[in-house]
Symmetry: none
Subunit: 538 residues, 2 copies
């Protein structure tokens, strides 16, 4: 078995995705996720290029993976020692440093405006500088494939300069994403034939022709032994090679599975769906249903012929067992398999329902009807449990909502500044007794936290004899999604709550009115808490 190395650049090239801007804290969370997955390298960013990246390296967590700082080769006219941009990268405190440099003659003269020889010297001196300081050096050969096509001799001279200066890895980058897999394979083979061994070569592709994964595989077929990519295929333009796709391909699919090993073990492979979803959560992106391996539709069998064959043997229409990557088979709700799925979910919630119980069909219908209106129960387990209990007649009525009113005002204060204040009134009927509560949106510091904050405080302010139960619960996360575009937009709110006992639960609300959607989710959160306190007391 030959070893393949995985180099993640989610925190650097991934951040070039339009609309993506990680905070330092998010970078730390992602780095820990990557380390748990088992990649060999984590490229943390470009120290000195922006405050977030610099702050990340100062606060970077200890990882099993090698942490890499990214930068560029020194400029012409200064020594490597005196280049302040390079110094910021070298001083970030990582064992590994990756420098990008030009290998395409057109870019040397057009974008940099220096001579071809000056560029070779910049590469050579920069890499030698890293090696002299004891760093593991990578050279990202920018535009290598386009450069090779335009001036093969120069492109090869550029990567040889890095190799001879002591770079551990020369990473061949298809920066513009336009080189097709067959050509990538031919060009990588030519580089190896020219004298750089494959176990010193990496591949960095982009998805501009939807071939980033195939291009990476073609480079491995030709002999390259390091792959650069990102989680969920984030990255400049159409994205980088998607490690979430490449990892199971390398571990599970032939001819790769029996030829190569990586740093990822089978246990980590099962976390793949969860890693992919967590990144979407951090970015508040809707997970791509059709994503290979990890998408909610990746093992969904809609065609009738497929679904019936799957019941006989899943191998008939599945290229791998979905459990290997932490995913699940999805069979249309209407048939038998839908019901056995449901029974398993109910059992997870402590509800044993026998096969064929009429409530099963009723619950499935209700879930489907609500999902059509924008609800989702995948990530709102508490609301799912309440829905099922309602159909099963197993949900006590703790209280009734009579009405609520929220007022949001924005006006000038005495100092002439525009300030906002929200106020919420909630009227409940708790065991026959009417209870009016009012709260406002200011926190301890006097800052306005908005109408949902005021509403959640008013709802939880006076529940009569249940009040004690909910006193330790708090709202820990709040996610909003518009589930249809345009003026017919419907808002879906998902609320995560927790309590002092360490329980954490999620509830969902949907409405054209964002305050209503939030109130519905808040209400489910409170009822779930009351239900479980009652269940554990009895």
């Amino acid at each position: 078995m030959e070893r393949l190395y995985l180099y993640d650049t989610t925190l650097r090239d991934g951040q070039q995705t339009q609309g993506v801007q990680f905070s330092t804290d998010e970078k730390i969370r992602i780095a820990k996720m990557l380390d748990g997955l088992g990649v060999d390298y984590i490229e943390g960013g470009w120290p000195g290029a922006n405050p977030t990246d610099s702050a990340f390296f100062e606060a970077a967590p200890a990882t099993r993976a090698r942490m890499a700082a990214f930068g560029m080769t020194k400029r012409a006219g200064v020594s490597a020692e005196n280049d302040d941009v390079l110094a910021a990268v070298v001083n970030a405190g990582t064992g590994t440093v990756c420098l990008v440099g030009k290998t395409h003659d057109f870019h040397v003269t057009t974008a940099l405006g220096i001579t071809l020889d000056e560029n070779l010297e910049n590469i050579s001196r920069s890499v030698a500088h890293l090696v002299a300081l004891g760093h593991e050096a990578l050279f990202d050969a920018e535009h290598f494939f386009d450069g090779w096509k335009a001036n093969r001799t120069y492109a090869l001279a550029a990567v040889r300069a890095a190799h001879e200066a002591g770079a551990r890895w020369i990473v061949l980058c298809d920066t513009n994403g336009g080189t097709l897999p067959v050509q990538i394979g031919e060009i990588v083979a030519d580089v190896i034939a020219s004298g750089i061994p494959g176990d010193h070569l990496g591949i960095h592709t982009h998805n501009d022709t939807a071939n980033a994964v195939a291009g990476s595989l073609a480079a491995v077929d030709a002999g390259a032994r390091q792959i650069q990519g990102t989680l969920n295929g984030l990255g400049e333009r159409c994205g980088n090679a998607n490690l979430i796709t490449l990892i199971p391909t390398l571990l599970l699919k032939e001819p790769y599975a029996s030829r190569y090993e990586t740093g990822i073990d089978r246990g980590a492979l099962q976390s793949l769906v969860s890693v992919s979803r967590k990144l979407d959560d951090i970015l508040n992106r809707v997970p791509v249903r059709q994503a290979p391996f990890v998408g909610a539709s990746a093992f969904a069998h809609k065609a009738g012929l497929h679904a019936s064959a799957i019941l006989k043997d899943p191998a008939t229409y599945e290229h791998i067992d979905p459990a290997l990557v932490g995913n699940e088979r999805v069979i249309p709700m209407s048939n038998q398999a839908g019901q056995s799925n449901l029974r398993r979910r109910l059992a997870d919630a402590g509800l044993a329902v026998e096969k064929g119980h009429p409530a099963l069909a009723a619950i499935l219908n209700e879930v489907k009807a609500r999902e059509d209106r924008g609800y989702t129960y995948d990530s709102a387990q508490a609301s799912f449990e309440l829905l099922a209990r309602r159909e099963l007649g197993l949900l006590p009525q703790f209280f009734e909502v009579e009405r609520y009113r929220v007022t949001i005002e924005r006006r000038r204060n005495l100092a002439g500044q525009m300030v906002s204040l929200s106020e919420a009134v909630v009227v409940l009927n708790v065991e026959g007794e009417k209870r009016l509560s009012v709260s406002e949106s200011l926190d301890e510091t006097g800052a306005d936290r908005g109408p949902i904050n005021a509403l959640s405080k008013a709802l939880a302010k006076d529940l009569g004899r249940y009040q004690e139960i909910i006193d330790d619960m708090r709202l820990v996360d709040f996610k909003v999604r518009i589930t249809q575009g345009g003026t017919e937009a419907v808002t879906r709110v998902i609320i995560d709550s927790e309590d002092d006992a360490g329980h954490r639960w999620s509830s969902v609300g949907v409405s054209a009115n964002i305050v209503d959607a939030s109130f519905e989710a808040l209400l489910d959160a409170v009822i779930w808490k009351l239900l479980h306190a009652t269940l554990s007391a009895s």
Copy 2:
């Protein structure tokens, strides 16, 4: 130049996408779009399998492309003439008929439960029946690649049976999507070596390892001359090969562009973005920003180094000219961007600012500071323009906001149902004159559209002498994102607006209070509209 044939199955396999269910009318619109694009074949569905597909063939538009009906080979125990499922397909009135059949021994015995010889006879008799009736016959060799790996002799015998019975095309299907491009190439070559000429072979791939496009190209490299795929890569599980990606790859990228021709001409190629978006419109899907060739980010250059080189020569970071596929270059604002990027953005907004102008640094600082607070200007060009004009002293003050108040109430109506109603009051000062406006959240049908709807109507209700300018503007999209998790959550709202002249612009607002964030974005939308009306009048 050799001819490649494109076979579209959006209306059949594309309909297997989870959540997709075309109406007959939608199928007709899509068929016309496909015909305008220039594909060779349009597979319209499975007549007899469901009412929509049957209705489509009855109402199918006349097309330059060949219309194909899809079905399956006859069952064992009945003759082709007496198989009613096959009869419905044959009678759909299309010149071309495509029948799927088994080629993997495991499926013949497990899914069909018949003998291997019976299956060969079913294939042979069904194809011969089509040919005898004067149809052009295609045979979709289901699970061919898995079948070849399990029992090469039988898989080859199955496709040979179809070929010898007179099938014009034998389409090798990687039904489960698990075969990687290298293997696809090897197996297609083996089929050709076994005696079926490449110009009788098609390829049908799925995207379960993100290699559907690469697998199709590998089959063409090996000699296959028909490609099956779908628009936007719709299809069962992870989707089929995406024709929207394959078409520009075949027409524009080497080694394909100089070797092959298709039925698509350069003019149709320029409609690619519009075809892709129209399909999303029909499905009410948000277009994928990172989609190769046609995505809004496909030619977006976020990295500062890339953006500055693009200004010198677009070829530095673009693999094709975006105009060839009807797309556009985007240089987004972000805190990674430099001053040259900024000047380019300002120039796009009609603001020529000379190099080194002190306002440039001020604008960048303001953008960075706001992005740290959760704003994003990548996708909110209108707010960016207003911010820049404020720094440049080029933004007239059209009116002032004195205050606003929004009330959201939910209570029981006379019929005992819980109903919601929002009301918004906005107080403006327009050229020294105070103007109070009030609106509520009900639409024409009496449905509650929520507090933001009420607020946007009140804000746009009475702008004095500017009122006429904004009368034709409307809110077309509303996106909400929580930019920090937990109780310190900050809400970002992006609003897309448009007017009767066809302008479309996006604005952003950020606040802990979602109503405030929305109001800020609404305000920018109105001011941008006033500004541009003023600019074009002067």
